[in-house]
């Protein structure tokens, strides 16, 4: 396992990056994405899986914003806003499906839902 940068390295980094270095933003995004993936893979409750997907979308947003800051380019912000709108649409349809599932099948466990038709 590689060690974290030593203090001297951080001061070196501060000379060309005012504030937190880009890698730490990316590392936080990677950790958030991994936690979201952990939720999708290990949880079988449809609602928790949806929330984990929201986490992963946010991790992607963080990456866009971090790069937008490094390059001083606002396109990343625009992309993040579009991702947010897509996430809202996804949540609305996804939750409607979960509610329909609960009504028709009486379960929100995705393992128990194997067929599209009743």
């Amino acid at each position: 396992m590689p060690s974290l940068p030593s203090p001297s390295l951080l001061t070196l980094a501060a000379t060309f990056a005012p504030g937190v270095i880009l890698e730490h933003y990316l590392l936080l995004a990677a950790i958030l994405f991994a936690i979201g993936m952990l939720g999708v893979v290990t949880r079988r409750n449809a609602l928790t899986m949806f929330m984990s997907i929201e986490l992963m979308l946010n991790a992607a947003n963080l990456t866009f914003l971090a790069f937008a800051r490094v390059h001083a380019d606002l396109s990343g912000h625009v992309t993040a806003i579009l991702v947010m709108a897509v996430a809202a649409a996804e949540a609305a349809v996804g939750l409607a499906i979960v509610i329909a599932l609960q009504r028709v099948r009486g379960t929100t466990n995705v393992d128990e839902v194997r067929t599209l038709k009743l």
Partner: protein, 182 residues
């Protein structure tokens, strides 16, 4: 050591505690047995993440994060969770399967991979792609509503309209799916 402390900016002092809180909230989402607690944990995660967005200079996106995510989307989630009224029996008990174990290891491995990229910085093999990107100086009003809105409506108008169409379809679709008789 003192020169190291002196080199720390306010962004450093705020970023790392906020990052830890964000990770803790995200873990709460995944580990909470009841989705209701998970949703509340996710709301706190979104607030901390919004603070980190603002630290990164994305003021408008940070505020949108609070309004859209912590406000609209999470209210939708909470409404759905309360509508379903899951009890302990419906939630079932915790099961560990081979599939879950492999998936969990894979996710942890992803963090390990990210950490190894971080370590490459010190390596003698030369920098990987993004490492030597110097920070550009941020122009006045970077990340403000005016600047982002200008770009959004001038250069990304088509994408904006496509997303608005998507939202319309999602609204109609959500009603059509959730409305009992189809």
């Amino acid at each position: 050591m003192s020169s190291f402390l002196a080199s720390l900016t306010l962004e450093h002092w705020l970023f790392y505690p906020l990052a830890l809180l964000t990770i803790a909230g995200a873990l709460g989402v995944v580990l909470a047995r009841n989705p209701l607690y998970g949703a509340l944990s996710l709301i706190s995660t979104f607030f901390f993440l919004a603070a980190i967005f603002i630290l990164a200079g994305a003021h408008f996106v940070g505020i949108l994060q609070i309004i859209v995510y912590a406000g609209a989307i999470m209210v939708l989630f909470l409404m759905a969770i309360m509508l379903l009224a899951l009890d302990a029996k419906a939630l079932g008990r915790r099961r560990v399967t081979l599939f879950k174990l492999v998936g969990g290891l894979f996710s942890v491995g992803l963090v390990g991979l990210a950490l190894s990229f971080l370590g490459l910085r010190q390596g003698a093999r030369g920098p990987i792609m993004w490492i030597r990107i110097p920070y550009q100086k941020l122009p006045e009003g970077f990340g403000s509503v005016a600047a982002v809105g200008d770009l959004l409506f001038r250069e990304h108008l088509l994408q904006l309209e496509a997303v608005s169409l998507l939202l319309l379809v999602a609204i109609v679709g959500a009603v059509a799916v959730a409305k009992g008789k189809i």
